[in-house]
Symmetry: C2
Subunit: 546 residues, 2 copies
């Protein structure tokens, strides 16, 4: 007779073992013993490492486990951010990893893979990793982080809700075990983000969980070339397609766009016509546009350090709880970015002749994060909008195929990046990295056939309008400036593409390059951002230089 409740029975035993160590509100001094009682060898363990919020106390405790007792863990992490995330492998406690992004730990990750200490299951986007939590990668144990708990175990995640709901739901409803580290235990929570029912143990960490301010860009570092590119983006794409629902990538290029909405875009009469709704973390660079009334709503994947008071004071714009603080949710915001936004625009490191782009560089396994999800045509989308229909029409003009819309996916990049590395290449480094890290296919960030526009300081290449792979290649070369790829352009063909409006120079859009100065930035430095926020934005110390 087959038994059908092995997971629940095993869970019960683990909980009983755990309760012999400490109570449900656990003694932080006993955390290592508690984890040894709760975790079994070979377990799939989801350790909450988000883009911002880190379950750092639990990560440290995991590293202190006895590898003779707990080993061969299969770790699930959105983001490998802390050294502890890899120490677990170095110490022989874990052996397999499925993850999304490893930015700060990318070099060490590559080394551990080469040393055979770590076996990568796969590299994901956030949303597909969450999806797998409900299919074939359901966590047996989830180690998560919250702002506060009450004595029942209800959790308050505050503005950095991020991945917590998706992780906890998948774990708690498949007879898994959920352990939360919290900054404080209180009698009454400001609000409940995760019901106590879904949580097994709560432990107050000796220090508040680590949060990384990833989305803050100092306007002082924005160049005039970036201002010019931002102007072309607004006039040549945002206005051209009437893009109302947007996701911006991270970086100075898109920060420049955010900062000239209230100046340049306003002067073009675009308020209320572009950039009304956003799937975006609360970028400080968006403050001037919000204050100017450009932005109607922002839903966020996570929060951003220093923006707390500003968000609380702008509840008509952000998603906030009744306590006034934000509720972010990466799963829902990624869904919104995929399906409810008409455009993704972001930077990259390398673009090849087919338009494939990658941020992979040799010796680093950096992962994908969320960009491939947002930077891909949502082929399951069925609702129309003018921007989506226009992009779809351009892609299909002159072809006898079923009409459909298309997402605008814009790569914005200077032709040379730092250290004079060309952004345009014949062959992506991703190919070599795939060999090096034994990946099945090269780690492409955004595939060429999903990219609709490439924007450099030389102009815009509208790939939607290209009729052949050759035209596409020349359109890319035609905005690749003085890089070898750009120098090898077929000049006649590029001029033809320009005549047909496939390549647009600043002057073709009626943009006066002399206007492209930092004077267009609605905030020129961090202090201006603080001022624009009415003193509500409080930048982290490292960004305060006044």
């Amino acid at each position: 007779m087959k038994q059908w409740n092995l997971l629940a029975e095993n869970r019960q035993k683990r909980i009983e073992r755990g309760l012999t160590i400490t109570g449900r509100i656990a003694d932080p001094d006993k955390i290592v013993a508690l984890l040894e009682a709760l975790i079994e060898p070979g377990d799939r363990v989801c350790l909450e490492g988000n883009n911002q919020k880190q379950a750092d106390f639990l990560a440290g405790a995991l590293c202190a486990l006895d590898p003779a007792r707990v080993h061969d863990l299969h770790m699930l992490l959105s983001v490998l951010a802390l050294p502890e995330h890899l120490d677990i492998f170095d110490k022989g406690i874990a052996s397999k990893l499925d993850f999304s992004f490893s930015g700060p730990q990318a070099v060490r990750l590559a080394r551990l893979v080469a040393d055979g200490k770590l076996n990568i299951g796969a590299i994901h986007t956030y949303l597909e990793l969450f999806g797998r939590y409900f299919i074939d990668l359901t966590p047996r144990v989830a180690l998560i982080a919250a702002q506060a708990a009450d004595r029942h175990g209800n959790l308050y995640t505050g503005p950095n809700t991020e991945d917590t709901p998706a992780i906890v739901e998948a774990t708690a409803f498949k007879s898994g075990i959920v352990i939360a580290q919290v900054n404080e235990i209180v009698d009454v929570l400001p609000r409940v983000d995760i019901p106590a029912d879904w949580v097994d143990f709560v432990v107050q960490a000796p220090t508040p969980h680590y949060i990384e301010p990833l989305f803050t860009r100092d306007p002082a570092l924005i160049s005039e070339v970036q201002v010019l590119m931002a102007m072309m983006a607004i006039k040549g794409i945002y206005a051209e397609y009437g893009v109302e629902r947007i996701n911006h990538g991270i970086g100075f290029d898109t920060a420049a766009i955010e900062l000239i909405l209230p100046t340049y875009a306003e002067s073009l009469g675009l308020k209320g016509k572009i950039g009304r709704h956003w799937a975006l973390n609360p970028h400080p660079a968006l403050i001037p546009a919000i204050e100017a009334g450009f932005v109607e709503s922002v839903h966020s994947f996570g929060s951003e350090l220093g923006m707390e008071r500003y968000i609380e004071a702008r509840p008509d714009v952000f998603f906030v709880g009744r306590d006034g603080s934000m509720r972010s949710n990466r799963a829902m915001s990624q869904t919104a970015g995929l399906y409810a936004c008409d455009m993704f625009i972001g930077s990259t490191l390398q673009i090849d002749l087919q338009g494939n782009s990658s941020t992979a560089t040799l010796g680093r396994i950096s992962g994908f994060g969320g960009a491939p999800n947002m930077g891909s045509d949502a082929r399951g989308r069925r609702h129309a909008s003018p921007a989506w229909l226009k992009a779809g029409e351009q892609a299909r003009q002159g072809r006898d195929v079923m009409p459909r819309g298309q997402k605008l996916v814009v790569q914005i990049v200077e032709t040379f990046r730092e250290h004079m590395q060309p952004a345009f290449v014949e062959r992506l480094d991703a190919w070599q990295l795939a060999d090096q890290a034994k990946l099945a296919i090269p780690p492409v960030m955004i595939y060429g056939d999903d990219v609709t526009h490439i924007l450099t300081e030389e102009g815009i290449a509208n790939l939607l309008l290209c009729r052949t792979p050759e035209e596409r290649e020349q359109a890319i070369r035609g905005v690749a400036g003085y890089t070898p790829v750009g120098m090898a352009r077929d000049k006649k063909m590029v001029e033809n593409l320009r005549d047909r409006g496939i390549i647009l120079r600043a002057e073709d859009m009626g943009i006066d390059k002399r206007m492209a100065t930092r004077d267009l930035l609605a905030a020129k430095n961090m202090k201006d951002l603080v001022r624009a926020s009415g003193g509500l934005y409080v930048p982290p110390k490292r960004f305060r230089n006044w």
Copy 2:
């Protein structure tokens, strides 16, 4: 000075008005007055109409509002299932509609549109509608349904959680108002699905909310042709690609596949190799495969009437709470279906020569539901699996392009559907419907360039391997049987495609057609399903004929 908390202030006023009518645990007799106090003209109102669970009491109350006081509502509904959902428009209370699926009300919906009484914003898939709730269609008021509430307002949704979490989160965290109808109010809930913080008013409905058993198919109605098609699916696709993570559409074709897993697939040695993980409602037809140990896990969009006790007894397979009952979640399961499954297979009504398929028929605006989301290549997916890689390789073979994987999207359809209507057509009815209903583009369910295989009783057309649009058209004609489309095939080209393995007949797969009898079905009728479940499955009355 701009005010930034208009939504929260307005919300507060509405709540105060509401509390003059009745308490937070509202008097059901005062529901109409309560809604009139809470809802304002022009509001976006999300009325919970799921695939299964219906907030029917609140729908009825909405219809009883005085249109002089409450009018021009913009309704948001996943599914238009009840007459009340359209009565609201007929009575002049609502004027605009954004929705996903309208199956049972499709004819009346078309009439109301023609009469100018209803203006459709757009037709969505479920997941994109949820996405828009966080971007540009955030509900001002949400009218939802739950199984039970406690006196604080915590909600227990039980197995039919469905869309509730996505709706409530979007509404509650943007200063909206959430009103829940519940079947009972209890002291202690079996578990908390929605925290009380997120809910404003709770009302006990006089009768339990309506639930529709949509996914139950009586095995007695499965034909031997369908058994043959199921055999070809398993041998020619599931085994060929090693498909472990699957989403099945609704209908008898896929029910037949589910029912021959423990017989035919078992005999091929496929247990543990195919169909291990599912994004699927708890189909009763899956019971024999579960009992045979084929199925390791099932995550569900919603539940299915009669499956409650079976699910509770199989917690290793289904996602259940600590109370033993299921937790479904349409948003997470759709995400899983999109990104974590290697294959979608489902039926359709019409397929054209490019492989575009549609369930649209004239005079009916039936919407999309979830199929387009699952039945599309997830271009943002980055993790590899053997099935995904193989499909991607086939699609790109001989072409010098960046390698990438691809989702298997299979259309399974008999060449003639009921009333001898051909399933293959030169031109989809969707074109005419687009004109009729003034849609921007034809309502295509699955686009041809996302379809990888078409399976009929005549065989399998593998569209991945077609090199040109002409080959693709002939591959489709080559499995279109005696329909006019099939009869017009180029016989030589079809034979060539067969030689190249692009078209596969049953005999090409080594399938003995004489074996395709109902004897292969692990359950031949509803009683067999009950027996296979050990008496745990309790079919709804209409399915019990013994």
